[in-house]
Symmetry: C2
Subunit: 516 residues, 2 copies
């Protein structure tokens, strides 16, 4: 090498400059890479679905609306039928679509962790309510515990391609609803400075936990200035029925300035129509009804359109999050979000596999790829879960982090410019060395254009065998162990910790929140 | 159940009618499902790439053209430079783009196995030249053998979502080039009635093997009427250089009526530019140069545009077929094929994983999903391979068959019609039972809209555990063993077999071509 450089100092200098430039270049992927190049629905189909949605909201409406909602909607031309269904007039729905805030920030609690959600910008993170954990040591399904949630938060905190941490498992060692909400908020904020998301059982919990969030944010009223937690709300029980308690939670959250997700998660063939188009219509209508309510409470609301229609295996009626139908259904609902211009959340990256095998990989990737390219802004359930959301696994978080990276690299797409078309480079190489290996452009692009995975393996079969023939599950297990042993971010001061532990019953021992 | 039906005979009758209809319905996926809803490039970017391609062909051209090519291109305004580079004038290239046949049939040898390639119709099959086989019993990498190729053909013959069988491994027990070409043709046609594809080392081989294909087709000159084999031709050695021997093979194939793939497989950062846009430009230019040659030999040619640009891991220079960059690069080249209207082949469904783990699943699915949604007509290397094309595996064919099904279901998309929007059904359910489980539409759609996988698992964690906690690799192994034990399609008559065995040295023992 040295000999070569002495022969051609100019070439050597050019290479060094290229490497310097490469060091400073943008990374290959980032939160908010722009999607939207995949549109499963034609323009006419979008409009047809929208018309059906308006029709459904105006003619059929939703039952079980809470009094405040009936009052707000009625004041804007809506009406409660004798059968107790709240009908939404077209003009109102169209106004809400036109005027809802379409660009805002989901804040993190550390520099560089804010997410700008708008347009076709794509972010991927966790989510779900898995009752089980696949034990890192035994590999067996067991009850999910609060410690698992804390560990998941810490793990996600360390994984670059996972952009936010929505509560993805239900800590089953929490004895009641209040304990669960409180401890979920506590361990999520203790484990990661990324934006978090959670649901709340009661409106009162939102208010009480808001005090804790205010404390973390620096004082009373501070949380609402830069809210670092999204309130995830399943405000409906499909088909076309409001969930009363959740609507009260929603109202409390909106009043306190939380970003809120209006989640409709009907299951095609069970709680929503078996035809995918019908499922899109119903879930869009249900989610829109929630958007209307939020807007009427507060026109400045950070409302996230979240029609998360699911798919059943019609032979058994049970959910099939990993099916091909699920992928395209979610992409179509995401496209409707883009059609409205709403900040949109989709659920994608699910699998029916019980272990990180090839099914785990392809099912998750299929759904995630379609939702991301459709331009979903906030993809939840995008990592860490398996068994159709019934099991969380640390290895999955680690594997999926690499998968998400790949998908985001695809979403970033191909930049076309004078420089990237590279006609000069091609001509140089054709008339010169005959290959691009040492071309300055190749070195420059190494870090800006190409993503190198963390646990995915690129060795030759021989090298891989010599390294022990480990599959990605085994490699991810090692990574998860390493991270969980060492990564204890300090995100809560001792004073803050004392405040909450004095006041409320925190179920995770402090000793378990630091290196052994 | 009976009690219920007695109560409501009309409902029971409706259910029965629905099930009858369901029996007759279209299947959930089929060969030729229409893609094209994903466009990584904008219209302006397509045109900019096209302009760069024309510029490259006209100004830089390709070296090492064979005499017949120089003659044909020169007669149409082309020119050989003093440096020996053949330049292609814009007008000629544009004429070829305008006039090349854009719709034809890739024939199979049994009913229902013809593939109509045109427009955005997507087909997925095998391909590659893997030197290794992952042994079905030991799980270890070893030399690929002729028996493996025959077994792969039989296995693919049984898998519904794999639409054609391109030679995907190199039988290393064939002692020379002629033996390899001959035996590849023989075992491929013996193993499957699906359309096959293969490369040829010499023009003479094409002619000799054509006699065998004529025999199978029913007599001299019959093969060209319904050619059941595509000639796969890497007519270039990137960057911008023709492969002389391959060009002669190509010419022989075109004259004999073979559908031909014009494959350019430069590797970004090594034999094509590191910028993805530059790689698109070069591979499109190289593939187009081959299209021009074919068209000038025969304006009726069934030429398949096949810019199959690959990606390197720039740290090592070795190929990374499973990278995220690979997925979007291939989708962009496929989009250029759609831009020209050519029948287009892409290489997608690759992985760098050495075993069917989660990486295997997500990497394959990512590339395949993007290429399919971009509307690639003929996706090769779509199944059966791993280790960046260095290893074939029977389990992979079986797993990938399910994966392809899922991807095709996504490509099929969402049908929007009065019926599928399902407003009436929603209204009925909302005012009636409150769920869609027993709705006639749900039963009707069970088989037409929903795909049920063969080895992918949808059990609950408990049921899965009770069934032995098998991952998809283990289940696929059982399926592969079952098929290979039983499925010996009779596709060559004893007379045909005698003809070829008398005349040429077939290296696979007849006894190995029937049940033990």
């Amino acid at each position: 090498m040295e000999k070569r450089s002495r022969k051609n100092p100019r070439r050597q200098r050019r290479l060094e400059e290229s490497l310097d430039q490469a060091e400073m270049a943008q990374p290959p992927v980032w939160p908010g890479v722009e999607g939207g190049h995949y549109k499963p629905l034609s323009i006419i189909e979008e409009e047809r679905i929208h018309t059906a949605v308006l029709d459904l909201l105006e003619r059929v409406g939703l039952s079980q609306a809470i009094p405040s909602m009936i009052e707000l909607v009625s004041a804007k031309g809506g009406r409660l039928t004798e059968q107790g269904r709240l009908l939404f007039p077209r003009a109102l729905v169209d106004d809400v679509i036109a005027n809802t805030c379409k660009s805002f920030t989901l804040h993190g609690r550390a520099e560089g962790r804010d997410l700008q959600v708008s347009g076709d910008r794509v972010h991927v993170g966790t989510g779900g309510a898995s009752p089980n954990m696949v034990d890192l040591e035994t590999g067996l399904y067991r009850d999910a515990l609060l410690q698992d949630l804390y560990d998941a938060a810490r793990l996600v905190d360390s994984l670059d391609n996972i952009h936010f941490f929505n509560r993805s498992l239900v800590a089953r060692d929490c004895p009641d609803a209040w304990s669960l909400d409180l401890n979920t908020a506590y361990v999520s904020t203790a484990g990661t400075s990324k934006h978090i998301g959670m649901s709340f059982f009661e409106a009162e919990h939102v208010e009480k936990i808001n005090e804790y969030f205010d404390l973390l944010a620096g004082g009373a009223g501070e949380f609402r200035k830069k809210p670092f937690c999204t309130l995830l709300c399943c405000h409906v029980v499909p088909p076309m029925r409001f969930a009363e308690e959740s609507c009260k939670v929603l109202e409390a959250g909106v009043r306190l300035g939380y970003p809120v997700q209006l989640i409709s998660a009907g299951q095609a063939g069970a709680t929503s129509p078996a035809t995918l188009a019908g499922s899109v219509v119903q879930s869009v209508a249900e989610s829109l009804a929630g958007m209307v309510f939020c807007y009427l409470i507060d026109p400045q609301v950070k409302a996230i359109f979240a029609p998360k229609a699911l798919v059943s295996d019609l032979r058994t009626g049970s959910m099939s999050g990993g099916s091909g139908e699920q992928g395209v259904l979610m992409a179509a609902t995401a496209q409707m979000g883009r059609y409205y211009g709403f900040v949109t959340s989709s659920m994608a990256g699910m699998t029916d596999a019980k272990t990180p095998d090839a099914q785990h990989g392809y099912e998750k990737c299929h759904g995630l790829t379609l939702a991301a390219h459709a331009g979903a802004n906030i993809i939840t359930q995008g990592c860490g879960l398996q068994a159709s959301l019934l099991g969380a696994s640390f290895e999955s978080y680690v594997i999926d982090n690499d998968m998400i990276g790949s998908v985001l690299r695809g979403v970033r797409g191909i930049e076309v410019s004078e420089e990237t078309l590279a006609l000069d480079v091609i001509e140089d190489v054709v008339n010169g060395e005959g290959h691009y290996l040492g071309a300055p452009q190749t070195l420059q692009r190494m870090k800006s254009d190409y993503l190198y995975p963390q646990v995915a393996n690129r060795q030759s079969p021989d090298d891989w065998k010599q390294a022990g023939s480990l599959d990605i599950y085994q490699r991810a297990k090692m990574t998860a162990r390493d991270v969980l042993k060492a990564h204890y971010p300090e995100l809560i001061t001792p004073e803050q910790d004392r405040w909450i532990r004095d006041r409320y019953r925190i179920l995770l021992d402090e000793k378990l929140m630091q290196p052994a």
